[in-house]
Symmetry: C2
Subunit: 424 residues, 2 copies
């Protein structure tokens, strides 16, 4: 059975195995409560892929003396977490701004005073590629320790050709060195760079006509982005501006994502439905009507509760309504230095349960298989089914409900990517 | 200089050292923002105690070839965290109840249906001392990883002699084996045990007249508790009942703590002031008038924001008002299986900042030196001053404001207790 196999791993003594076996698409409605749970299970991995899932006695006959046996200690095993929305690459931090906000300044006030995104842009432009890589690697390692095995990462703190490309090269470097799987997204339309404040149209034309073709890999350039994202908001880009960027991205073969309806309804989600975006992200203020457009268009909502929490706000996106309407909800961290310096998927899952009343099972589905589909990787990762990558976590606990219950506990997770232990 | 010294440790290359040097009492008002910060500092430890703090060049002359040098890598160093309110010892967990609560059940409904504290009481009574010890050690290790070097731990899931004493012996065992310093508290008056539901008076008389003298070490018994706590609440004990227990505790030399005003004003805080309690804990609903009584009596408020968060509630205690009134505020985790399964002091500090608008400096003072004074250990731990125990943390970050900013980040903290590295 294992002849010609480069490596085989046999994970045994799994107290509770969350397979998330199910249809070959993102899960909706009551499907989000179905975890494909197995008790006292085992998992066979060959060449980095799951080749069998089931009872120990049945699977043992498929192994030989070359198979590495790993004992899960009777603990919970789940798929690795898939973080579908991060701003991983940036220089510096905004801990001083965090303190100012506690003392009373609003996010918008800080931005107007030259803080916010623009301060990170200035630091990121001034950083070398190696400096960005070192810091991104440190934050990626936090995520890895926290169980994230695949993550989306955006540019957007460069806002000029040189630095946007530098950020995307850092993401490409992290993808190449592994072990965490990376999905790169161009977010040059994060905000208007200060030096072009009165030349918005020129900035957008440059993104649409020059930068997008380049990062999409046209004209002999290396392909540096798989998705294009726009921050559609009162303080960022209008719906018309967002359309201009995303129509270009679509033409050049990039998938679409939108930061939409974070602070005000009518800021981009309907456009996402119209253009067939993969996701619209945030949605704190989304209306029922817009949700029905998203549903009809098959767009996945990406909920970012940590950014609501870290901003000290109380309006979370209407997760329950989305699930009841049959939308394939995703939960992600929004890790970034301003509104969500919170890299832990487990914490975002806990917030999903406590603040958005998602059931622990729904939060787990949203953080794994649904997130994978939102990144176009649903056939590869997000569940532990035969043929998929063996990205899995051996937790300290024995029941999936403990993941969100023990909020922010300093747990140690054994992390495996493609069947190889990569625990930090 | 080091002659006769058993062990000496020289911590060098400290980028930012939070000494918390200050008056020999808990800090109030603007003192809570004063961190005694030193840049590019070093710390000398002999026989587990701080013997010098200052510039590397000055301290180096105090060392010899026997001194172990530890490089802090330019990182932040703070005192170890002091968690002044935990229910560390219990059997089982309530992750299933967590799920039910998300699905709509209230804490009170779950308690009325035989869930809540009573379900943990049943499991804890059924557990052996060794089983309790194994689970408590696991949770203690979470806290240790999270930087907690001293913690208070309460009984209260026994509610009969046998199990209350078993819990206190587990705490004594953890204290004896170290490394985390433990402060034991009797909380037999956590709730009325189910079998005595119609004999409340009898239960209270037994606590006041028999259990308290025993655990306080009278009549030749070993002293198993340093404090006595009562849960004063609509669903627990009245103010009159609380008085009965605490007056006995005071008579037998125990310090006093009270769970007060969590759900309704007028539930115990004024009594704490009258009896000279060390702390009153919770205080989500406390009034200004009661706060002025606490201030006049020198009682320390212990704020437990993680229990507000985990219960999905929005009414946090009025931390800013307390600080402005000059109360020596403490922040603790309230770690317990029902309302706060959140063992991380860093997370409670982040909540203090985000949900209660405490400045990062105030949260750090509340979680260290003020907490130490609330446990009668202010001369021993809580700050890094000459003569105090060398309980300190070498963090991954370089500035104290990052501690609360990177909410729930899976950081690795190097933990030292009495100058010895005890990192997990």
């Amino acid at each position: 059975m294992l002849e010609g196999v480069l490596s085989a791993v046999f994970l045994v003594n799994i107290g509770q195995l969350v397979t998330l076996a199910g249809p070959a698409r993102a899960r909706v409605g009551v499907e989000m409560r179905e975890l494909g749970l197995l008790r006292d299970a085992a998992l066979l991995v060959e060449d980095g892929r799951v080749t069998a899932v089931g009872a120990y006695a049945e699977l043992r006959s498929l192994t030989d003396s070359q198979t590495a046996v790993i004992d899960a200690g009777g603990h919970l095993v789940t798929p690795g977490f898939v973080d579908a929305h991060t701003h991983l690459v940036f220089a510096g931090n905004r801990a001083a701004e965090f303190e100012q906000r506690i003392a009373g300044a609003t996010y918008q006030e800080l931005a107007a005073a030259g803080g916010g995104i623009q301060s990170t842009v200035a630091l990121t432009r001034a950083a070398t590629e190696d400096e960005l890589l070192v810091q991104a690697r440190r934050h990626r390692d936090w995520m890895l320790r926290g169980g994230t095995t695949t993550l989306e990462a955006k540019s957007g703190y460069g806002l000029n050709r040189e630095t946007e490309l530098r950020m995307l090269r850092v993401i490409a470097q992290l993808a190449a060195e592994g072990p965490v799987r990376m999905v790169p997204t161009l977010l040059a339309a994060h905000t208007v760079p200060r030096e072009m404040a009165d030349r918005r149209g020129e900035y957008l034309a440059w993104i649409a006509d020059e930068l997008i073709p380049e990062v999409a890999g046209h004209n002999g350039n290396p392909r540096l982005a798989r998705y294009c994202d726009v921050f559609c908001d009162d303080h960022a880009f209008t719906v018309a501006e967002t359309r201009r960027v995303l129509e270009s991205a679509k033409r050049y073969g990039l998938g679409l994502r939108i930061h939409a309806e974070q602070f005000r309804p009518g800021t981009g989600a309907a456009l996402g439905a119209e253009l067939g975006a993969a996701t619209v992200d945030h949605l704190e203020t989304v209306t029922t009507e817009t949700l029905s457009h998203l549903k009809a268009a098959g767009v996945q909502p990406v909920l970012l509760p940590a950014s609501v929490f870290c901003l000290g706000r109380s309006q979370y996106p209407p997760a329950r309504q989305m699930i009841e309407m049959g939308l394939p909800v995703v939960v992600a961290t929004d890790f970034n230095p301003g509104s969500s310096p919170a890299p832990s998927m487990l914490f975002s899952m806990a917030l999903s349960c406590i603040a958005m009343r998602m059931l622990p099972s729904e939060a787990l589905v949203a953080a794994t298989v649904n997130a994978a589909y939102s990144l176009g990787l649903g056939d590869e990762v997000g569940s532990l089914e035969v043929g998929k990558a063996a990205d899995f976590l051996v937790h300290e606990c024995k029941d999936y409900r403990e993941l969100a219950y023990n909020v922010a506990a300093p747990v140690r997770i054994r992390v495996f990517i493609a069947g190889v232990e990569v625990s930090q």
